[in-house]
């Protein structure tokens, strides 16, 4: 042993330790927001069209479906569940709304109502599988993903639902897609697309619900420690059921906005939104170092992904590389949020 070297090493270690945790804490707290801010500044500098009202209106409108689906995932994660059927539910809502109008002459309001109802029904089945039959959340909703996708394919029998399409009995569909339905995404209110208003209103309401109401707090409690919640007299099953109903409802709402955007009943249209929704929700864990699913974080996660896709497209980054980049960002965010967790 060399006694003369030991103390020096010790001091060095200690000096590093004093500022490192503080810096680390700052990084964990502000990391995602800093990345988002840096990305926006960078894109504004290299692309003059990036920071324009038109582009941002489009960008936020584009992210509205992702955000609604991501909020659906978030609600399920709050109760320590995991709803991966959200994309399928959104796709179901597209098919239901379009079929209602084109085949059954439904009004726009009826089409929306039926779509949301289909989301609630799927949420109820998820809840039944998880709460009653005690299937693990991921497996139950994964199974439902397949079932719901399959049902969509049965409904449309391989076709795309448009006015005048040929029905299985040989006749033509006589209904039309209501303009007031398409207005959900294409119409404007106070200069902004209605879908943006819907997204913000839902996000605000959900944020208030989860963070400031009794039921929201108890959902977090169920997610934090289910057994402790039960032994505190909380009806755990009811809260989980509520969370999956809400998840189904929000995913279906995302599907309605999507249907209004694409204007046809294409099968499996919602599927790509599941992974993005999960990613946004997970990135949200790391925002402001919360370490748990939360509405604001999910919104920031969705925004980060939308800014990336928008910016990459402007910069002519090939679309086929974008997914890999999104994946890398999500992993970095996850690394951050788990670092937050291990710090306690």
């Amino acid at each position: 042993m060399t006694p003369s070297q030991r103390p020096a090493q010790e001091t060095h270690v200690r000096a590093t330790r004093d500022w490192a945790p503080a810096l680390q804490g700052l990084f964990l707290r502000w990391g995602i927001l800093a990345v988002l801010f840096g990305l926006i500044v960078y894109l504004s500098m290299v692309q003059p069209q990036f920071l324009t009202i038109t582009n941002w209106t489009n960008l936020i409108r584009d992210m509205s479906v992702e955000t609604l689906v991501a909020l659906a995932v978030t609600v399920s994660v709050v109760v320590a569940g995991f709803d991966v059927s959200v994309g399928a539910v959104a796709g179901m809502a597209v098919i239901v709304s379009m079929m209602a109008m084109v085949v059954y002459h439904a009004s726009a309001a009826e089409a929306v109502g039926l779509s949301l109802l289909s989301g609630l029904v799927i949420g109820a089945v998820n809840a039944f599988l998880i709460v009653r039959l005690r299937l693990p959340d991921l497996l139950a909703t994964l199974g439902m993903l397949f079932v719901v996708d399959g049902v969509q394919q049965v409904f449309v029998a391989g076709q795309t639902i448009t006015p005048g399409m040929t029905l299985p009995n040989g006749s033509s569909a006589t209904g039309t897609i209501q303009p007031s339905f398409l207005a959900i995404d294409q119409g404007r209110f106070l200069h902004l697309p209605i879908s943006i208003w819907i997204m913000f209103a839902v996000a605000m309401l959900l944020w208030f619900f989860l963070s400031s109401t009794r039921v929201g707090r108890l959902m977090y409690a169920v997610g934090s420690n289910q057994e402790a919640a039960r032994l505190s007299g909380v009806n755990v099953g009811a809260y989980k059921t509520g969370a999956y109903l809400l998840s189904g409802f929000l995913a279906a709402l995302g599907g309605v906005v999507l249907a209004a955007r694409i204007g046809v009943g294409e099968q499996l249209a919602g599927d790509p939104y599941m992974l993005n929704g999960v990613a946004a929700s997970m990135i949200g864990f790391a925002v402001l170092g919360s370490g748990r699913a939360n509405v604001f974080g999910t919104f920031i996660g969705a925004l980060l992904m939308a800014v990336m896709v928008n910016g990459f497209t402007m910069l002519n980054v090939p679309y086929y590389t974008q997914q890999a980049m999104l994946g890398a960002v999500m992993l970095a965010a996850l690394a951050l949020s788990y670092a937050v967790k291990s710090r306690g």
């Binding site: 200690r14 330790r17 109401t213 707090r217 409690a221 934090s224 057994e227 032994l231 505190s232 909380v234």
Partner: protein, 503 residues
């Protein structure tokens, strides 16, 4: 020159974010010695154990083994130096689905030089030889999770011995053991001592410390405040731990008058666990329930609370039959449970203290379902003050010491209107000072509600309870008023399997 001690700590300390949680601790343990370490919650015992077992990458000071400095910067480094530990939560060091044999040679399996191809028979032979060192007689092929707690402890000890451990740390090893099991563990520890190991024994139970140790060290606020070279009295230790003489060794004998009967349990049955238990409890009295670990105390309380299904029996509250199928029903009727495993069953560990406190009676702090944040904070602050909850009360409850966490679990029920309080091992892992506070609180609560106080610590029940029930194998085998019975009788009653007593 004299033989250097087996292990010597010199000025060992640890800081977190600039705050010293352990300062300048120096002591040594010689071969063939049992040294006990005690201190209140938060005194630095866990930190010291973690340093010695290589949990931290860095620490201050040095540790010498046989006079040579050991580098305890990783668990494997500590094991290589000959230090190993048996923790209270022994399950954390066992791979539950691997066999006993595989667990016994786990460290060797983890060694990169161990042959890739595993021969089950050879592993079991090797493991059997290891098991014999501590007289662990179980089927080597069983999954380790099926072992009893004591067998798991023996497994961990044997594994440490197989690694040529020379210093063994026991951290609250008796917290969930019954009295006969404690005796058996002590026999093992004495045997290890006679083989020349150095033992560091850490426990809150002073009577056990006194029974097993050769010397006693006391930590307070991160410093080694006293080192008794011979075995001191319990009172001396408590004084050193608290920095002042303890208020009183036992709660004051209490001149109580039992009020009206609140709870009647009639023929409570839980399949395989509780068999036809009947009793009544009144307001103004503490009904102690004691017995060995596994006697059915926890199961009885959980059944009364609706946490586990009753197969038969009825519960009357103020003379009226109540239907309690789920905890929700119990809470509505004012029957509250403080569960045995507070971290797993009592707390939302990632929630801050105030959210834990408000969690059960959240409606009290709500208007139209919306939480009134100011009123919630105010209510929590009052409870924190009332129960003297100390520590980082702004942060997650996970960061509080065991005693303070227990106060939080108690506190969340005190916002309600308790009729019956079911307290299950509420002083387990709680230091002497906090224990006294909890006793006082329990006494105070008994003015408002019928209190059932279940504990396998017979002395505690004897000193606190106005009446007590002794349980064995899911049955009540004795019922006594205060002063009617002594420790020995209870112990015989609780352990005896031959002599059936009908009450």
């Amino acid at each position: 020159m004299a033989v250097p001690p087996l292990i010597a700590l010199e000025g060992v300390g640890k800081r977190f974010d600039g705050v010293a949680v352990l300062r300048d601790v120096s002591f040594d343990i010689r071969s063939g010695e049992v040294v006990s370490l005690c201190g209140a919650n938060g005194a630095g015992k866990s930190t010291l154990i973690k340093i010695m077992t290589g949990y931290y990458e860095s620490y201050q000071g040095r540790v010498r083994i046989d006079g040579t400095e050991a580098r305890l910067h990783s668990p494997s480094g500590a094991r290589a130096a000959g230090i190993d530990a048996v923790y209270q939560e022994v399950d954390t060091c066992i791979a539950p689905d691997l066999s006993v044999a595989e667990n016994l040679i786990l460290y060797r399996l983890a060694n990169p030089h161990y042959p890739l191809w595993q021969n089950r028979r050879r592993i079991e032979a090797e493991a059997r030889a290891i098991a014999q060192t501590v007289d662990l007689r179980v089927d080597m092929a069983r999954p380790a999770r099926l072992l009893t707690l004591q067998q798991k402890q023996l497994l961990v000890i044997a594994r440490a011995l197989a690694q040529r451990a020379r210093v063994l740390i026991f951290d609250e090893p008796t917290a969930s053991l019954s009295q006969p099991e404690v005796e058996r563990l002590f026999a093992t520890i004495r045997d290890l001592r006679n083989r020349g190991l150095g033992i560091l024994y850490v426990s809150h139970r002073l009577s056990e410390l006194l029974a097993i140790s050769d010397r006693v060290l006391v930590l307070r606020n991160g410093e080694l405040v006293q080192s008794f070279d011979s075995v001191p009295t319990a009172r001396d230790i408590a004084t050193a731990m608290l920095g002042a003489p303890p208020p009183d060794d036992a709660p004051q004998p209490y001149a109580h008058s039992a009020g009206p009967t609140v709870l009647e349990a009639i023929g409570i049955e839980v399949r395989g666990k509780v068999h036809g238990v009947s009793f009544a409890a009144a307001r103004g009295e503490i009904l102690g329930i004691t017995g060995l670990v596994g006697a059915g105390k926890t199961e009885l309380l959980r059944a009364l609370f609706g946490a586990d299904a009753r197969t038969a029996g009825e519960i009357r509250l103020h003379g009226r039959l109540v239907h309690i199928q789920r905890p929700t029903d119990a809470v509505k009727n004012g029957i509250y449970l403080v569960p045995e495993e507070r971290r797993r069953h009592g707390l939302f560990l990632d929630f801050p203290v105030y959210k834990n406190l408000s969690s059960v009676f959240l409606a009290r702090f709500c208007r139209l379902g919306v939480i009134d944040a100011a009123s919630e904070r105010r209510g929590a602050a009052q409870m924190i003050e009332r129960l003297h909850i100390s520590g980082a009360v702004e942060g997650p409850v996970a960061h509080l010491s065991g005693g303070n966490q227990q106060k939080v679990v108690l506190g969340k029920w005190l916002f309600g209107d308790p009729q019956v309080l079911l307290l299950d091992e509420v002083t387990q892992g709680v230091d002497v000072g906090t224990r006294q506070e909890i006793y006082r609180l329990v006494r105070e609560m008994s003015q408002r509600a019928a209190v059932l106080f279940a504990s396998s610590d017979i002395d505690e029940v004897l000193s606190l309870a106005d009446r007590l029930l002794v349980m064995r194998d899911g049955r009540v085998v004795g019922s006594f008023a205060r002063g009617e019975v002594d420790r020995q009788t209870i112990l015989e009653l609780a352990a005896n399997v031959e002599r059936e007593m009908v009450v």
